[in-house]
Amino acid sequence: MKSKGSDSQREKVIVIPCSGIGKAFGSISRDATYEIVDNLRKDVTQTLCLALLVSGDEESLQLVRNNKCITVDGCPLQCAEKKVKLAGGNLAGSLRVVDAYKENRHLKPRSVTFLDPDGQQMALALAEKIAKKVDDLLEGH
């Protein structure tokens, strides 16, 4: 597997979604994260697998401890936030999909496996919020 350290040496924000498989909001957390790390802020962010923190993967643990992290959770249980904190990660921000939903109440995402148009729109709205948080963190706020 390609080493995480071979990504750019400049400061990066690590964006970690919960990716909960049972609810549409879990899929939205994942898709919003991809929108950030593959598109909106691709040079200054990366993601990692949440489960690697729990299985004790040393590279992943060092990554979250040495960089600012933003978690993106699909439900109030906030599994991503909890696990990053437990791993001793540098948690600099926590967002929830419901935060995007509250500003977009007309959107009713239903599909979990592949996001429907409402789900895709909500993911984009959430990604904008994450992008703003990334910018704030990189500016030192």
Partner: protein
């Protein structure tokens, strides 16, 4: 009807954000749940399971599980063994697709045709394992 005597298998998929095999694992699991074996399976949300979700852990302790991992780091299998017990079966997507490493540079967000075909193949394998597990359980 709605009690612990009903035979069900818990499917635990890795979340695998970093590579396309993680997405394949996830999609394959959803295909099993939604289409191939909807009455025989239940999904266990891995992040919730890891975070101590009571229902997830109790189900995985009381019922047989099948783990589906994107790569040979096998996070879902390791977590299941740690918190609930040895899964009845474990599948690794890279074994099914024939990749020998996790292809992080692949289209991990929206599966292309090749990856969708891989997801269907993995789903069929999982469904087959579900049948075997239930048969052993009878």
């Amino acid at each position: 009807m709605a009690d612990a005597q009903e035979k069900k298998v818990g499917i635990i998929s890795c979340s695998g954000e970093e590579c396309v095999e993680g997405t394949i694992s996830r999609v394959a699991t959803r295909l099993v749940l939604g289409k191939l074996r909807p009455n025989e399976t239940v999904t266990i949300c891995l992040p919730l399971f890891l975070a101590g979700g009571k229902e997830e852990r109790e189900f995985a302790t009381d019922y047989p599980t099948i783990t589906v991992d994107g790569c040979d780091k096998m996070c879902a299998k390791i977590a299941t063994e740690r918190y609930s017990g040895k899964p009845a079966s474990s599948i690794v997507v890279t074994d099914v697709t024939g990749n020998w490493y996790c292809s992080r540079l692949g289209p991990r967000r929206k599966l292309d045709e090749e990856s969708q075909a891989a997801a269907r193949k993995v789903a069929e394998k999982v469904a087959h394992e579900v049948d075997e597990v239930l048969e052993r359980w009878m």
